[in-house]
Symmetry: C2
Subunit: 587 residues, 2 copies
């Protein structure tokens, strides 16, 4: 029997621009894979510079250093071949997968399909590759592609399969959104069956600014079976043995044999033979079960928020974070995420009551802090609010109290948190959710002030579901039942409740999903059964608060369309999507 082809996926957490650390991590995982007898080890997309490097790619020195690191890594690829993501520079810049073997760079594949939508700007930096090589490693023909290449049928994957590839290594930096791994699974199973290849889909893990990468690398066999799966949100070296003869057998019956390579793709797919000796027959046993179980949905989202927060804190060299605890659901959840991200000993809470803060809010804030085991600092804001009002008395004479005085309270709290940040070097975590940020129900420089907005992409109704999930998960609930049950309030004036200003969140959130995430028109949203006046009001609020979002701190993207690079709307914008009742005359 032909010995199996041992493949390792190094699902690592890189840091953008950390050449030394990324290179060290790649070499360590490469050595580990070699010690385990791997024939091939795959690393994520742009593993050497970190992903996404954005405009660092414009610096010629940055690209030069990344190539020097590749040479260093290549010297270690002696027993196994390695596929490593690198910014390749020839006449142009390419998003490339270098193939390392026998201690040198044996070949390069350059990404052909460059995503330039959503959060991606790859056509800003890269030229598309034009060639789709196959590398024969220990007699096994291996195709190599990068991320987006595999998301549409045809193209380099087909060209490589037609040229004989039985194993398709696809290296990725695939940003997380809720349940995306299921879509990936389905797509990969279809591709594997279509082209009768085993797909080795290696993904990045970790947080980078607004993006989090979930890992969950998979090996999908040519009949669509999951042969291996890496853990979610953790680093891992996932090793699996592939029965290449079985793949070859399946290939003999596959429809791709009836196609004509050159006609189908127009892509040149040369074959480079790196080694022909069969894989070694005697190797150590595989380390553990290669198929990790995916998390269920709420755990998945929660862990995305935890990892995104932890990596933002650590990779920006902070140790301690501070959260303003109001006794409401948002700040309670953010505090719990913070504790799970960096440990209770590295989380501080500030309580900043005013005359409008209810007794129950004070009590709940204290209970959350106690349940989480975090230290609190009490900073009553009344003296500052009073001083502001005194300074402004003359300027405001004759004017009724309004949002100006409400915002002053929120901004006083923002300033106090930033003062703690400046004095002690703590990172301020803001606590606003996506529903509020969508409609502008947030104070710029007030509750929006801080370094990282943990739940900025989490709609309010999901905030509740996550809080309940977190409560059920630990030894004891950390968020008091009363917090989950009370009516949401900003407590910036007497008896204020969110529903005085906003529709109930069960109505608001689905409208926002349609308008913000799906770019549906007012008419289309109304057609789904929502009240026209409510739809019109929500859309007007969303459009009018773009200027606030432009000055918001980054936070973890978890939905298909987050605010930030994902959604690039002008501030100056007279366009309004109108419902039929708002449009008096047809154009």
């Amino acid at each position: 029997m032909m010995p199996r082809f041992r493949v390792a996926m190094a699902q690592i957490n890189t840091t953008v621009g950390d050449f030394e650390g990324n290179t060290r991590k790649i070499i360590e995982r490469l050595e580990e894979a070699q010690a385990l007898g791997a024939d091939l080890v795959a690393f994520p997309e742009l593993a050497i510079p970190g992903y996404p490097p954005e405009d660092l790619l414009i610096k010629t020195e940055f690209v030069r250093e990344n190539l020097a690191c590749l040479e260093e890594i290549a010297r270690h690829a002696v027993r196994a071949a390695a596929v490593v993501g690198v910014a390749d520079s020839g006449d142009h810049l390419y998003n490339a997968a270098a193939v390392l073997a026998a201690g040198r760079v044996a070949g390069v594949y350059r990404k052909m399909r460059l995503p330039n939508y959503g959060v991606f700007d790859e056509k800003r930096y890269f030229q598309p590759g034009v060639e789709s090589p196959v590398f024969v490693i220990h007699g096994v023909p291996v195709g190599v592609t990068v991320c987006e290449d595999i998301w549409a049928p045809g193209g380099p994957l087909l060209a490589q399969s037609l040229a004989g590839a039985l194993v398709a290594v696809n290296i990725n930096g695939s940003p997380y959104s809720i349940g995306k791994w299921r879509v990936r699974d389905e797509m990969l199973k279809t591709r594997a069956r279509d082209y009768a290849v085993a797909i080795v889909y290696t993904n990045l893990v970790g947080g980078q600014d607004e993006l989090v990468f979930d890992g969950m690398s998979v090996v999908v066999g040519p009949t669509g079976g999951i042969a291996a799966r890496g853990p979610a949100f953790d680093e891992a070296l996932v090793v699996v043995d592939l029965d290449v003869e079985a793949i070859r057998g399946i290939r003999r019956y596959n429809p791709i044999r009836t196609w004509d390579g050159a006609q189908e793709t127009g892509i040149r797919a040369p074959v480079y033979t790196l080694s022909t000796a069969a894989p070694a027959p005697d190797r150590p046993p595989l380390p553990g079960r290669p198929v990790a179980a995916p998390p269920e949905e709420l755990e998945e989202i929660y862990r995305a928020l935890v990892l995104g927060t932890r990596d933002y804190v650590r990779k920006n060299r902070f140790r301690t974070v501070v959260v303003g605890l109001s006794g409401g659901i948002d700040s309670s959840l953010v505090a719990a995420i913070a504790v799970d991200a960096v440990g209770a000993e590295n989380v501080r809470a500030a309580t900043m009551p005013s005359r409008f803060t209810s007794e129950e809010s004070r009590r709940y804030a204290a209970e959350v802090a106690a349940a989480l085991g975090i230290r609190t600092i009490d900073l009553p804001i009344e003296p500052v609010a009073a001083a502001y009002e005194g300074v402004l008395r003359e300027a405001f004479a004759g004017r009724p109290r309004d949002i100006a005085e409400e915002n002053l309270q929120a901004r006083t709290r923002g300033n106090l948190l930033m003062a703690l940040s400046n004095k002690f070097g703590w990172l301020v975590l803001t606590t606003g959710n996506k529903s509020e940020l969508s409609v502008g129900y947030a104070t710029l420089y007030g509750d929006m002030a801080g370094g990282f907005a943990v739940i900025k992409d989490v709609p309010k109704t999901l905030v509740y579901r996550l809080a309940r999930w977190r409560n059920a998960r630990g030894a004891h609930p950390v968020i008091p039942a009363g917090v989950l049950e009370r009516a949401p309030t900003a407590e910036l004036r007497e008896q204020q409740r969110d529903v005085d200003t906003l529709p109930p969140y069960e109505v608001l959130d689905p409208i926002l999903a349609l308008y913000v995430e799906e770019d549906r028109s007012a008419e289309e949203i109304v057609a789904q059964g929502f009240d026209p006046a409510t739809v019109a009001r929500v859309i007007a609020m969303v459009d009018a608060s773009e200027y606030k979002r432009r000055q918001a701190p980054p936070g973890v993207k978890i939905t298909p369309k987050a605010f930030g690079k994902d959604r690039r709307l002008p501030i100056t914008n007279w366009y309004r999507s109108r419902t039929a009742s708002e449009t008096p005359t047809a154009r």
Copy 2:
């Protein structure tokens, strides 16, 4: 003699998303051109939706409305043909120039070269066109292209010239940067000579978020002469008569006759005949001299800042702006720009002295307000600063005063300005310059708090030059000589001066230009004669303050690379460009 071909360039100020207003403006200018006997009138790029519409283009309803407006405009194009920028939707979305004639849409050119660098994201939205038609209007073959199409040789302009075009209409939304019109002039003169065509380069005018468009549309004859030029930073209808027979004569001797169309470009250039009757011989005389004089450099920059500010204020439906006047150069210049943008009656100044505010600062602030004729509100910050320190006393016990207390003062001022904004509906203009924002010498939520950052792309040394220019321009200086001469200071502690923290601006600014605008490495900057330790310090400051810039308000782009869409760097970024002295061992 063949009657001349009368061409009009409608250099208009559109607003993104204002279909009604943009359509009305286009029709008015079209009627005006027709009344003047124009044969052809050209409007800017994406004139109907406004430019750049960014992700509004993802809304199908937005594209549909823009096409409905095109049909409405077409009905008015009866006597003249019109070239109008529109988002064209077929199987994909295209950045198009519609050709209107005889009351209908007679043809469409779809932009082939889509810029996706700098501030541009056109590959995010558009597919490139594949065909390069020539339209025969009154017997004159006219090629039509859009902006970027003409910035590189060959391509659609060459294809159209080879297909017989004698007039090349190029419609633009070309964002301003200092002296860019000179580069455009040179490029257009070269293109016109290369292809022996008259180029009708019609540009947008006006401000849109961070971009300002300078107008200065030009007609360049086939020997490189400027036949017409629109004014800078103002709307205009520029009309000129072209001697098409003369162009034809020049074409007969031009090298393009020796080229082979299909071989040279590979682009199909069909010819559509819209009208063959010669232009009317009797028409009204041309309205005035068609060649406006370009402004000299400082006037050009100043007017860019004025127009960018005015349009941000007005297009976001504000009437009044408020500026914090410190008695320093930055806020003095911003106040002058504000007055020139929206009128002294719509500008308020707030003076917000602390115990660290010198007598001369108070006096200068008052002098600037008086010279500009703006009303001031005096809001001493001491009571608020004292209240903050009182609330924080226990938390800060045993810690020396530091940047935390300094920032509290800046943030108190930010809050007071925002309170005025919330109470009276005024837009807060911030006063920070590019040098400060580059190195992070600015307080987030403090002096950075506001809606529009007028001089965020103006280096400090240029602030001084602009202030002197503004002083020399009016009936009397508005910025006291003392402000121009005193050492810059933030006045957040006793005897503070900028040079305590930063290199002198004459050293800092050129280093920043090399690092921020040109992406040069530390080594390269040192090689230009700068002190290695200073270069290293400046680069470290720039890199470490990316998080502040991400939360900065928009402001007018005037340099080749502004902060914002122009420069997309990660916040989480371990890369440091190091000088030789910083790198202890070579890799």
